[in-house]
C-alpha cells in the first residue's frame, strides 16, 4: 500500500502584481491588482514504502510547493492527498511524528548554541526520553561522522557540518517519510558525496521513504531509481531514471581516432556523423546497434582508438526542462 498518494493535487496562490516605477508603486498601494498563480496543477503519483524518488524540475516548477503540500505546511486548493495514512494539512501528531522536511535553504538549529542543544529541544518536542535521545544522537553522529562539532556553536560550523547537524535534527524522531528539498545545496563535492552516502545508508537501514529534490543530478543518479518530472506545476514524467535516459537519448556517442581522415560518406552507414575533425570523428549510434556497429567499424576502418560515451544526464534533463514535455516513444 502506498505511503504517499497524490491524486489531482492542485495549489493556486493569489499574488499581487506591481508595475515598476513610482506610478506603479502608488497604484499598488491604492488599488492592488491580484493574479491567481497555479503553482501545482493536477499532480498525481504514488510512492511505496522504502522507495527513494527524485523530484526534478526547473526553478519555479512547483517542486517545493508540492513538498510543502505533502508535509502539511500549506493547504491544497484541490485534489486528494494522503501521507502515512493521514491528510497532511490536518497536521495530526501521528502524521508529524511520521515525516520530516529538510530544506537546504533554511535551518532549524539554534544559531548561537551547539547542535546538541537543538537536538535536546527536538527530543523533548517529539517526546523522546533522555537515554533514548542520547542513543539516537550517537547513532546518527556515527553515520554522519560528526563528533566534537556537536558541541561547537552552530555559527562556527562549516556549511557541510551544519547540513549534517540539520539532518540529525530532522531525523532524531526516526521519521518514516523524508521530504528533502535540496539537502546538498551549496555543499562542496566531498560534502555532497558524504550526505548522499548517509541518505543511502539511512534508507537501507530504516526502510524510510524518501522524496528528494536537487539541482545536482549526481544526487539523483546516486540515490533515485525513480524520478518525477514537473514543469509549470504539472507532472510530465513518472518512471525509472534509466528508462528516462533511454527515452531522452536512445543513442550513444562514439568517438573514433582514425589513422587517416575519412570522408563523412564512408562513416554514414554506421551512424549519424555528428562531427569530423581531421582524423577524429564523432558518430551517434542507436544503443541497440552499438556492439554490431563497433565490430564493423573496427573491421572496415583504420581505427587507432575509440570511446563510447553516454550522453550526460544533466544535459538531457536541462534540455527537457526547457522543452517542458517529453515526447512519446515511437510505437
Amino acid at each position: 500500500m502506498a505511503i504517499v498518494t497524490a491524486q489531482g493535487l492542485r495549489k493556486s496562490f493569489r499574488v499581487a502584481a506591481k508595475d515598476p516605477g513610482l506610478a506603479g508603486t502608488l497604484r499598488h498601494l491604492l488599488r492592488r491588482r491580484w493574479q491567481d498563480v497555479e503553482a501545482v496543477r493536477q499532480v498525481s503519483f504514488q510512492i511505496e514504502p522504502g522507495e527513494v524518488v527524485g523530484f526534478l524540475g526547473g526553478n519555479g516548477a512547483g517542486k517545493t510547493t508540492t513538498l510543502k503540500l505533502l508535509s502539511g505546511l500549506i493547504h491544497p486548493t484541490g485534489g486528494v492527498l494522503e501521507v502515512a495514512g493521514c491528510q497532511p494539512w490536518r497536521r495530526q501528531r501521528r502524521f508529524l511524528e511520521a515525516i520530516t522536511l529538510v530544506m537546504g535553504q533554511k535551518q532549524q538549529l539554534i544559531w548561537d548554541l551547539p547542535p546538541l542543544d537543538s537536538l535536546r529541544v527536538n527530543a523533548a518536542v517529539y517526546g523522546i526520553d533522555d537515554s533514548e535521545a542520547r542513543r539516537r544522537i550517537a547513532e546518527l553522529a556515527d553515520m554522519l561522522e560528526l563528533g566534537e562539532e556537536l558541541t561547537r556553536p552552530v555559527r562556527k560550523l562549516s556549511l557541510g557540518q551544519r547540513m549534517k547537524a540539520e539532518l540529525m535534527a530532522a531525523l532524531l524522531h526516526r521519521p518514516r517519510v523524508l521530504f528533502l528539498d535540496e539537502p546538498t545545496l551549496g555543499l562542496d563535492v566531498n560534502a555532497q558525496a558524504r550526505v548522499r552516502r548517509f541518505l543511502a545508508d539511512y534508507n537501507q537501514r530504516t526502510g524510510a521513504t524518501v522524496l528528494l529534490t536537487s539541482h545536482y543530478m549526481a544526487d539523483i543518479t546516486a540515490l533515485c531509481p525513480r524520478v518525477l518530472l514537473i514543469h509549470q506545476g504539472a507532472l510530465f514524467y513518472d518512471g525509472g531514471l534509466d528508462t528516462l535516459r533511454e527515452r531522452l537519448a536512445p543513442w550513444r556517442q562514439v568517438r573514433l581516432e582514425l589513422a587517416e581522415p575519412v570522408p563523412a560518406e564512408r562513416l554514414a552507414p554506421y551512424g549519424e556523423v555528428e562531427r569530423l575533425d581531421g582524423a577524429a570523428a564523432w558518430l551517434l549510434i542507436g544503443r541497440d546497434r552499438v556492439p554490431a556497429c563497433l565490430n564493423r567499424l573496427l573491421a572496415d576502418l583504420p581505427v587507432l582508438d575509440l570511446e563510447v560515451n553516454e550522453p550526460p544526464i544533466e544535459e538531457l534533463i536541462g534540455r527537457l526542462f526547457q522543452q517542458g514535455f517529453l515526447e512519446e516513444p515511437p510505437a
Binding site: 517545493t64 510543502k68 508535509s71 505546511l73 533554511k106 539554534i110
Partner: protein
C-alpha cells in the same frame, strides 16, 4: 470548547519538558553574548529609573485622577509596571518573532513539530529583563495599597493576583492576534507598536480619562481590565461585574486568539525558498 482551549495541556509532560528546554536554550543563547547581556542589564536599570521618576513627578504635580487618591493611582501604576515587565519577559521576545518567522519562512519548522504551534510561538523564549520590573510593580502595588488602606486583606491579594493573570492573558491574546495578521500582511510590527502605545494609557485609572476615552478603553480596548481592575481588587473596591468581566474578557480573548491562529494557518503560504 474547554478541551480545545486547553489543547496544549493534553500532553502536559511533553509540553513541560519542552518548555524547560526552550527556556534553558533561550537563556543560554542570551548569555553567549556577555556584552549584550550587560547592555540589557543597563537598559533595565534605566527603565526602573524612568518609572521611579514618573512616580516622583506624579507625586509633585498633585493633579486629581478621576476621584482616585494618589496612593490608589500608584496601585494602578504598579499593575501597569507588572504588565510591562511581563511583556518584556515573554510577549516581546516571543510574539515579535512571529513576524520574522513568517517573513523568513522559518515558521515551517514550528508547524512541522508535533507540539501545539501557538504554545511554541508564545513560549519559545524568555527574557530575564522584565523580572525586576515585575518585582517593582508588585512592591509598588502592595506599598501603595498599604498606604491607602493601612492593611491588606489576603483574599484581596489573591483576587488581585487572579485579575493580574487575567490581564496578562488578555494582553497576550490581543498581541498574538495582531502578530497573527502577519500571515496575511507579513509586516505588522507597526500594529503591535500601536497596541503598546495605547496600552500606556493603562498607567492611569480609567476613571481619569474623559467619558469617550473611558468607553473606548473599556469596551473596545480592554485597558480598564488590564490595570484598573487588578488595582481595584487589591483596594477591595472591585465589583462582581468588573471581576466577571475581566475573566470573561480574558477567556474570550484567548479563545479568539486560538481560533484566529487556526484560521490564519489555512492561509499560510510559507515564504518561497
Amino acid at each position: 470548547m474547554v478541551v480545545w482551549l486547553l489543547a496544549p495541556l493534553r500532553d502536559l509532560r511533553r509540553h513541560l519538558v519542552s518548555l524547560r528546554r526552550f527556556w534553558g536554550t533561550s537563556l543560554a543563547s542570551q548569555l553567549e553574548y556577555q556584552f549584550n547581556a550587560f547592555i540589557e542589564l543597563l537598559a533595565m536599570v534605566g527603565n526602573l529609573a524612568g518609572s521611579l521618576l514618573v512616580l516622583w513627578l506624579f507625586d509633585r504635580q498633585g493633579v486629581p485622577l478621576g476621584g482616585w487618591s494618589w496612593a490608589g493611582a500608584l496601585v494602578v501604576l504598579g499593575a501597569y509596571t507588572v504588565l510591562t515587565g511581563f511583556t518584556s519577559c515573554l510577549l516581546q521576545p516571543n510574539l515579535s518573532r512571529i513576524v520574522t518567522h513568517v517573513q523568513e519562512g522559518t515558521l515551517d519548522f514550528v508547524l512541522l513539530k508535533p507540539i501545539d504551534s501557538q504554545f511554541w510561538l508564545s513560549l519559545r523564549t524568555v527574557s530575564a529583563a522584565g523580572v525586576p520590573e515585575m518585582v517593582l510593580g508588585v512592591v509598588l502595588m502592595v506599598g501603595a495599597a498599604l498606604q491607602e488602606r493601612g492593611s491588606l486583606n489576603p483574599a484581596a491579594v489573591l483576587l488581585m493576583a487572579a485579575m493580574l493573570m487575567a490581564a496578562a492573558l488578555t494582553l497576550y491574546a490581543l498581541w498574538f492576534v495582531l502578530a497573527t495578521t502577519s500571515i496575511w500582511f507579513v509586516k505588522t510590527w507597526n500594529a503591535t507598536e500601536v497596541l503598546r502605545a495605547v496600552l500606556t494609557a493603562g498607567r492611569y485609572p480609567v476613571a481619569a480619562f474623559p467619558p469617550a476615552l473611558r468607553t473606548l478603553f473599556t469596551l473596545v480596548l480592554p485597558v480598564a481590565f488590564l490595570t484598573t481592575v487588578p488595582a481595584e481588587a487589591l483596594l477591595e473596591r472591585a465589583t462582581a461585574p468588573w471581576i466577571g468581566g475581566s475573566v470573561a474578557v480574558a477567556c474570550g480573548a484567548l479563545a479568539i486568539s486560538r481560533a484566529f491562529w487556526q484560521l490564519a494557518l489555512r492561509f499560510y503560504t510559507s515564504a518561497s525558498s
